[in-house]
Amino acid sequence: MTHFVPLDIATDRCKGCELCIGACPHHVLALDESVVNALGYHPVTLTDPDECTSCVICARVCPDTVFTVYARPKADVS
């Protein structure tokens, strides 16, 4: 069984604006400075999948709609 990942990030569309990074209540988003995407930006990455609560706040502030958010499976919650 693979580990649950709560977010997919369309990194090819990310412009590294950092609005999501400041908005995330659990501080689990950061720019991935090891990557430069085709648009020329460091895209955002999820630093700790276990601490993400799937609250959707990042998706709500994202101007480039890069986030797909998944519900944490029940067994995985506690």
């Binding site: 590294g16 604006c17 994202c62 101007p63 797909t68 958010v69 519900a71």
Partner: protein, 260 residues
């Protein structure tokens, strides 16, 4: 809504279907992208995509037709409400919206928006106010705050020289043909959610043929303001909202002439 079957994770948020699958030309952190997304989410939820005609304006959102899976007509600078009037009158079963910046709607297009409201046209104006002419290099707009430095008011907007910020949505709310006028913002996650409800109410009233509807969204222009995207959103929250208070300015369930 299609359910993703590629893996067993349950989707709770994904990119709305009404948006084209392409990257936008907007600068990093520009609120135009957030407003586009809210509008597209409502097109999905209200099943409007197939019978919507957007009317584009001139400004950074001039390429909005590239991003929505709806029909679109481009209009000359400021004239979107006039073009939308024609579109809506010959296609009365369609959902028709304009998408305009403050330079477009509150400067060169002042006459068109006022008279579209006065006639109670069944169109929705989505008015993105970033207090500046973003596309042309950050010049002062009628909506620029007092004291705000722009490329054409380098010492800050002086009311003796350049007058006062124009509260155009309040002015439009006075007109009997206006069924709905509201102001929201995309400055914080909470405000983004509230802005969507304002847009939804406006869309519903157009569907009910209630008359003219407008939703102003206080947004940012990080590049034109010379700020990072997060700092620009903080500036909207801390400073811009003081000049342009948020809320529903008027909600008349039935304002337009009966014959529409």
């Amino acid at each position: 809504m299609t359910v993703q079957l590629t893996d067993n994770r349950r989707v709770i948020y994904r990119r709305p279907d009404a948006l084209q699958d392409k990257s936008t030309h907007y600068c990093p952190g520009c609120g135009h992208g957030i407003v586009h997304r809210l509008v597209a989410e409502l097109f999905d939820e209200m099943k409007l995509t197939g019978r919507t005609i957007g009317v584009g304006s001139v400004g950074c959102s001039v390429f909005a037709y590239e991003y929505f899976k709806t029909d679109f007509v481009e209009s000359p600078h400021g004239r979107a409400p006039a073009v939308a009037t024609g579109v809506r009158r010959v296609q009365p079963d369609k959902f028709v919206f304009t998408y305009q910046g403050d330079g477009d709607l509150a400067a060169i297009g002042t006459a068109e928006i006022v008279h579209a409201a006065a006639r109670g046209e069944n169109i929705t104006a989505i008015f993105v106010n970033n207090g500046i002419y973003g596309m042309t290099g950050g010049q002062m707009a009628p909506t620029t705050l007092l004291g705000q430095k722009t490329t054409s008011s380098p010492l800050g907007r002086d009311p003796v020289l350049a007058g006062y910020p124009v509260p155009i949505t309040e002015m439009l709310a006075l007109v009997p043909g206006t069924a709905y006028a509201a102001r929201g913002s995309v400055a914080t996650p909470q405000l983004v959610g509230r802005a969507k409800s304002l847009l939804k109410r406006a869309f519903e009233l157009q569907e009910a043929k209630a008359g003219f509807t407008i939703v102003e969204i206080l947004s940012n222009c990080p590049v034109g303001w010379g700020m990072t995207a997060p700092a620009s959103m903080e500036h909207v929250e801390k400073d811009v909202i003081g000049t342009y208070p948020l809320g529903v300015l008027v909600d008349r369930a039935k304002a337009g002439p009966e014959s529409k």
